[in-house]
Symmetry: C2
Subunit: 379 residues, 2 copies
C-alpha cells in the first residue's frame, strides 16, 4: 500500500489517552459480566489503541482486553513493527505470531475458557469460528450489543476533532451555496460537495446526499441522475472523517423562491431542530431529544411525515450509538456527541431535513455546525 495516513492534528492522542480508554472499556466489560473484549481492526480498535492495520485479512489481528485491564495485541509478526508504532502501543503487551504458529491457540491461551467475551461486530467469522473451535465452552456476544455505549462519551481531545470536522463541513456548505444547481444533475452537485469536504481537510467522504424535488422525500436517496430544476427544494446531507472523526450536517436549500407551503414545512423542521437541540441537557434521556423535536412536527400536523429517528452518535464513525430514538431511555451524558436531524418528507413532492452535530455539555448542547439554518436560496 502506498496510501499515506492523514497527518494528525496538533493535539495528538497520547498513549495515556488510549490507556484511559482501555481502562474504561475493561471496567464496562466487568460491570456487564464479561470476561473481556476481543477487538478486531476497525472503529473499536482505532478508538482503543490508535492502531489501524493497512488491511483486515485472514491473518488475525485481535486486541484481547481482559476485564482486569490487561491488554494484549495478538498481531502477525510481519505487522508487529507497524503495530508498535501505533500511538497506543505503549499501553499494550504485544503478542506477535509467525506463520508457523497458530494464532487461535495463542489467543485461546489468553482467554477464560468458561468466560463470556464481547467481540467486535465486524470481526471476521473465520476468526470467531476458529476461536469457538479452540475453546468450545467460551461464549461470545456482539460488542455493540454487549457494550453499546463503549465509545459514546468522548474526551476533550476527541471533542476538539468532532468540532473541527463540523467546522470543515460548514465551510463546504458555505461554498456549495455558490455553485449552480438548476440544470445540473444531483450527482454533479454531490461530486462538488465531496471535493469541498476533501478541500477542507477531510481524509474520507462517507456520503453526499443531494435529494432534489421528489427525491428529497426519500431520506435514503443518495444522489442520482435527476436534473435539478428551478422551483426545487434540495436536501444536502454530507459528511465524512477529518483527522479520524466524523462530520455530518444537513441543510435544505431552494432553487429560486419557495412557495408558502415549502416555507411553512421548512420553518416547522427548523423549529423542531431547535426544540431537539434545546432538549439536550444532562439528565434528559436520549428519547427526550427525539420527543421534543417530534412534538413540534406533530403539532404542525406533519407527524406522519417524520419517518426516522431524530439522531445518531458520531465519533470515529459517522453513525454509532447513542441513538436519539423513542425507547432509548439511557441518559444524555456530557461528552456525548450526536446529530439532531428532524425532517418532513412529502411523498412524490419534496422533503426538508436540518441537521447539526451537537455536543452534550454540563450546561446543555453545543452545536458543531453553525451555518444558518434558514432556507438558503440557490441558483
Amino acid at each position: 500500500m502506498s496510501s499515506t495516513a492523514p497527518q494528525p492534528p496538533s493535539a495528538a492522542f497520547t498513549s495515556d489517552d488510549y490507556r484511559a480508554r482501555m481502562a474504561r472499556a475493561a471496567a464496562q466489560a466487568a460491570e456487564a459480566g464479561l470476561a473481556g473484549l476481543l477487538v478486531a481492526p476497525g472503529p473499536d480498535l482505532t478508538y482503543l489503541t490508535g492502531y489501524r492495520p493497512t488491511a483486515d485479512t485472514e491473518r488475525m489481528t485481535l486486541l484481547v482486553l481482559a476485564a482486569d485491564g490487561e491488554a494484549r495485541l495478538v498481531v502477525p509478526a510481519l505487522e508487529a513493527q507497524d503495530a508498535e508504532r501505533a500511538p497506543g502501543a505503549a499501553a499494550l503487551v504485544p503478542d506477535p505470531w509467525t506463520d508457523a504458529e497458530d494464532p487461535y491457540a495463542l489467543t485461546a491461551a489468553r482467554l477464560d475458557a468458561k468466560g463470556i467475551y464481547g467481540i467486535s461486530d465486524n470481526a471476521w467469522s473465520l476468526h470467531l469460528l476458529a476461536l469457538q473451535g479452540a475453546l468450545p465452552h467460551t461464549r461470545y456476544r456482539g460488542l455493540s450489543d454487549a457494550l453499546p455505549m463503549l465509545r459514546a462519551v468522548k474526551d476533550e481531545r476527541e471533542l476538539e476533532r468532532v468540532a473541527a470536522a463540523g467546522a470543515a463541513a460548514d465551510a463546504a456548505y458555505e461554498e456549495i451555496l455558490r455553485v449552480p444547481f438548476a440544470g445540473r444533475r444531483e450527482a454533479e452537485v454531490a461530486a462538488d460537495l465531496a471535493a469541498l469536504l476533501l478541500a477542507h481537510g477531510h481524509e474520507q467522504v462517507d456520503f453526499t446526499i443531494v435529494g432534489s424535488g421528489p427525491n428529497g422525500a426519500n431520506p435514503h436517496h443518495e444522489a442520482g441522475d435527476r436534473v435539478i430544476a428551478h422551483g426545487d427544494m434540495v436536501v444536502l446531507d454530507f459528511g465524512g472523517l477529518k483527522h479520524g472523526y466524523g462530520s455530518d450536517t444537513t441543510r435544505t436549500v431552494h432553487v429560486g423562491e419557495p412557495t408558502a407551503e415549502e416555507r411553512r414545512v421548512h420553518d416547522t423542521v427548523r423549529a423542531a431542530q431547535e426544540a431537539g437541540f434545546a432538549a439536550v441537557r444532562p439528565g434528559a434521556a436520549c428519547q427526550d431529544v427525539d420527543r421534543a423535536a417530534r412534538a413540534v412536527i406533530e403539532d404542525a400536523g406533519y407527524g406522519r411525515y417524520f419517518i426516522h429517528r431524530t439522531g445518531h452518535g458520531i465519533g470515529v464513525t459517522t453513525h454509532e450509538p447513542p441513538y436519539m430514538i423513542e425507547g432509548e431511555e439511557r441518559p444524555v451524558v456530557p461528552g456525548m456527541c450526536f446529530s439532531v436531524e428532524p425532517g418532513i418528507y412529502l411523498p412524490g413532492r419534496f422533503g426538508v431535513r436540518i441537521e447539526d452535530i451537537v455536543i452534550a455539555t454540563a450546561s446543555g448542547g453545543r452545536r458543531c455546525n453553525t451555518t444558518s439554518r434558514e432556507m438558503a436560496i440557490v441558483g
Copy 2:
C-alpha cells in the same frame, strides 16, 4: 456515498455468467457435504452475483445459496433497489427485510436446521452469532477452508479482465523506467507507480512496493523514507484492480551498472521464473510450479534465500487460492491464473524478485505480463 463505480469493460458479465458461477458453487458445496453457502458482501458476493453494496454494515446482506442451487439474497429493504440493479440479480430470489423485521429469523427459515454451511471468511461476527443463536444445531465452516478453490478457475470473460489488468500494469512499468530513481525516496517512486496504475485504468491500487538496497531483501517491505542511491538494486512490485480484476507484477531494476554478483543473482531469479512458468501445464500439481522454480535457485546455491512460496492466485482480489506452494497437491486446471514470483533475498544487502501473472491453458501457461524480464538500468 457519492463514489461512482468504475465503468465495466465492453464484455460485461451477464446474469447467465453469474447463474453459472452460482450453479458451480452449489455443486461444489454439495460435493463437500455442505447444505449450502452463506455469502457476505466482499469478494465472494461480487464474484457470485456482481452485487457490491456501498457499505458492509450491521444491517445484514447475505446470499443464501443452497446446495440444490436455490439462491436467495437477504437484503435490507432500503438497499433492495440497489441489489436489483446488480448484474446477477436475475439469477437471485430477493428476500428483502425491513427494520421492523428480524433478518436472522428470516435467514434461519431458509436454512437446514441441522446442516453445515460454508460462510464467508469476512462475514461479520455479529451476524454469525445471531444465526448461531437462531439455529443452535446448524454448524458453520469458513468458506476459504471449506471451498478453497471456489473462485480459482476463471471463465473467458474473467480471463480477459485479468489479462487487461496485466497489460495496464505493464504499461505502468514501462513508464516508471523513465522516472528518476537516484536521490528520491522510495515513497516518491511508489506514489509515481500508484498514479501510473490509475492512469492506466486501475480503479484501485492495492500495493506499490519499492524496496531499494537492503530494503529489497525484506519481501514484506512496502516503501519508506530511504533515499534511493546510485548502485542500488530496486524491487518494484505493484498491482491493484482494473474493472474489478487484479494485476500484480514485479521487476527488479538497478540504478546504474550492477556488479557481477548482482547480475548473477538476477539471472538466477530470471531462470527460476522461467522454470516455474514452464511447469504450468494441466496435470501438474500446484506444488510442481514451486518446485521447478525453487530447484533453479537451490542449484545456484541460493536456496536458503528464497523465503516464500512461488505464487498465489489472482482474480477479484489480488491474493487468493490457488497457492503455488510445497504441499499443495491440487492440480493446475485451465482457467486458473496465478503469480509465478521467485526471489532471492540477501539480508542487509539486496533482493531480487521477478513476477508475472500466468493463465493456465490446455496447452501450458500464458503470461499476462510481457515486459522484459531482463534487469533494466534506471537513472
